[in-house]
């Protein structure tokens, strides 16, 4: 299999602070890798190293077949990078931003055609002359993506590309990402939207600088240690208080207006139903398929349980560096 990205033993230290700790993963061509994790887990530091902007303390990175440390310039020509804070020029128009990036990447003769093509495929037609300053966030996001792929890079890095964008624009954005992957582009994306993580071929979950999971969404969902019960109840808070006292419940979490409860033994469901009936609540309970938010919480909680046993510091103590 051909890989767009190969990361081996990647480590980054800032003084005594370990931001990325022995991380390994591979992204095959044409696949989307979702990098998830709490704020401060080391996601952005990892991406910066993959782009060749930050030099790793230890480990090896191959991007588009090139060694990032030995050949940073070759790598930069072969990647597209879209950051959290879309690097666009606000006093330039849509077209001028694209021209600027095309120039930066040394695009020659076909520059005009390429820019036209991008404006069309990102649905920016009719906005060519508009200043970025006057564009809404969703349009800026499309333009930022167009600028990141102006040189047809075989590898694309997206750092929280959809933060704060509404569901419809997010869906349209992911359709564009899908079509790029369909053309063989290897993509790494970070996101806090767990429904978006479901679109990825593979998910890497980072926590406290380490990669604590690296698998397909389907397989991750099957790793949740028990059954998940969803409860709809007219008195959610009181129900939660009662349930917290029942033994055999691994975790209780609010999902929108519902409770998600993780149990190890399916018999516990009977006890839950009995307790809520006894309290005279109107409720519905059923066993449901876990989603990726359940997986995220489950995985992070289980490693935090271990780390709390080993050290007095909680993950709260960590900071973004």
């Amino acid at each position: 299999m051909e890989y767009s990205v190969e990361v081996t033993g990647l480590t980054k230290k800032f003084g005594n602070f370990i931001a990325v700790d022995n991380v390994n993963f591979k992204i095959p061509k044409g696949e989307i890798f979702g990098l998830l994790g709490p704020n401060g887990a080391g996601k952005t530091t990892t991406i910066r190293m993959l782009c060749g902007v930050l030099i790793p303390t230890l480990g090896e990175i191959k991007v588009a077949g090139f060694d990032v440390v030995k050949n940073p310039e070759k790598v930069k020509k072969n990647i597209g990078y879209m950051s959290q804070k879309f690097s666009l020029y606000h006093d330039l128009s849509v077209e001028e931003n694209l021209q600027f990036y095309a120039g930066l990447y040394g695009l020659d003769g076909n520059r005009k055609t390429k820019i036209k093509e991008l404006i069309y495929s990102s649905g920016l037609g009719g906005h060519e002359k508009n200043l970025v300053r006057n564009l809404s966030g969703a349009w800026r996001q499309r333009l930022a993506l167009a600028c990141a792929i102006v040189h047809d890079p075989p590898v694309l890095f997206l750092d929280e590309p959809t933060a704060g964008v509404d569901p419809i624009s997010r869906r349209e954005f992911w359709e564009m990402i899908y079509s790029l992957a369909g053309k063989g582009v290897g993509i790494l994306a970070t996101t806090h939207y767990m429904d978006e993580a479901d679109f990825c071929n593979t998910i890497g979950l980072m926590h406290n600088a380490k990669l604590i999971a690296n698998d397909t969404p389907t397989s991750l969902k099957s790793q949740i240690g028990g059954s998940l019960i969803e409860i709809e109840c007219d008195q959610l808070k009181e129900a939660q208080r009662i349930l917290e006292r029942i033994p055999g419940i691994e975790n209780i979490a609010l999902h929108g207006a519902l409770l998600h409860i993780l149990i190890v033994n399916d018999k516990t469901k009977k006890i839950i139903d009995a307790e809520l009936t006894k309290a005279n609540f109107h409720f519905q309970s059923e066993i449901v398929q876990p989603n990726l938010e359940d997986v995220f919480l489950y995985k992070v909680h289980s490693v935090e349980k271990i780390s709390i046993q080993n050290s007095p510091q909680s993950s709260e103590e960590r900071v973004d560096k």
């Binding site: 933060a163 806090h192 709260e316």
Partner: protein, 321 residues
């Protein structure tokens, strides 16, 4: 629900034909137009809408930061233009890109806002102590805010908005860019604020969060499309939902697009989420068509409708018109 009747009778916010146009004359189109919004005291009200719909403009008008072009707004009983000072004393406002001072510590930020808001010196110490334990920031009281994680910064900004014990909180996307775990913690804090009898008006791009609101308003192109309780909004959708997982995806997609029962569809991770008049009636036909076209069905089931379905339905419906 949790509110007493007396509290519900009072209105925390009432706007009449509220309109804001940034550019005068024919050049500009209004950012919001004739918005009539009623938020009863003690309510958690969620404002959603595509980027550029006018959410931030609405919140800023209510927070007395902007002046309306036409119409008026009463906030906590006072006019936002004529009695702006009185409004400001009783509301807490948190901007999307919060105004924390990065080089001040947690404590110094709180002290600064306490002085700005005229909190009496003898009360200040206790307020800061209470808020720190409320937001679980006590161990970080002497840390500079730039060294806090994204989730902790949001908690600090929320605490600063609460320093003068306001009756109403206006929060512009308080959970954007925050990981799922910190997001839960923030919501836990917001629930506590509501339980103290305060009112919250917030905007969010997360549809699962709107399911926890008492009322949700959908803003589109500067106008309110609908306001309602999430449960009613969901129940009133004129369709049911089937989710299908099948291999290969290409055949799944093409079969669904051709099917006459399908009102709309979208990809959700590895599944397709399909709106149909009746899930029960459409299921056998779809199963048959998929099998005939050579797809292997892994899962086909009716699932609950949610606020994302409401949002997409309403916005796309209006977009089409």
């Amino acid at each position: 629900m949790r509110k007493n009747q007396e509290l519900m009778m009072k209105l925390a916010i009432e706007t009449k034909q509220l309109t804001k146009q940034y550019l005068a004359g024919k050049k500009g189109s209004p950012a919001i137009k004739d918005v009539n919004l009623v938020v009863p005291a003690g309510t958690l009200f969620g404002l959603v809408g595509p980027d550029g719909a006018g959410k931030t403009t609405t919140l800023r008008l209510l927070a007395t930061i902007l002046q309306p072009t036409a119409g008026n707004a009463k906030v906590v009983g006072y006019d936002t233009v004529r009695e702006a000072e009185k409004v400001r004393k009783q509301i807490g406002y948190m901007a999307q890109f919060y105004g924390l001072y990065p080089d001040l510590t947690v404590k110094e930020n709180l002290e600064f806002f306490a002085e700005l808001k005229g909190v009496k010196p003898q009360e200040k110490k206790k307020r800061i102590k209470d808020l720190m334990s409320f937001a679980r920031l006590t161990p970080f009281i002497n840390r500079r805010s730039m060294n806090l994680s994204g989730g902790m910064q949001k908690k600090l900004a929320l605490s600063c908005a609460l320093i003068h014990e306001p009756d109403l909180l206006i929060l512009d996307e308080p959970t954007t860019g925050v990981d799922p775990i910190s997001r839960r913690e923030l919501w836990h804090l917001l629930t506590e604020v509501i339980n103290q009898g305060k009112t919250i008006l917030l905007s969010t791009p997360y549809m699962d969060e709107t399911e926890r609101c008492d009322l949700v308003g959908i803003l589109y192109k500067g106008e309110i499309l609908t306001v309602g309780n999430p449960k009613d909004l969901i129940a009133n959708l004129p369709f049911e939902i089937l989710e299908i997982e099948a291999k290969p995806r290409k055949i799944l997609r093409s079969t669904i697009i051709e099917n006459a029962d399908v009102i709309s569809w979208r990809a959700v991770g590895d599944r397709l989420r399909i709106s149909v008049k009746s899930a029960q009636k459409s299921k056998p036909g779809m199963t048959k068509a998929l099998t005939k076209n050579g797809a292997e069905i892994l899962n086909i089931m009716q699932v609950k409708k949610n606020m994302e379905d409401v949002y997409i339905f309403l916005v796309e419906h209006n977009r089409g018109n």
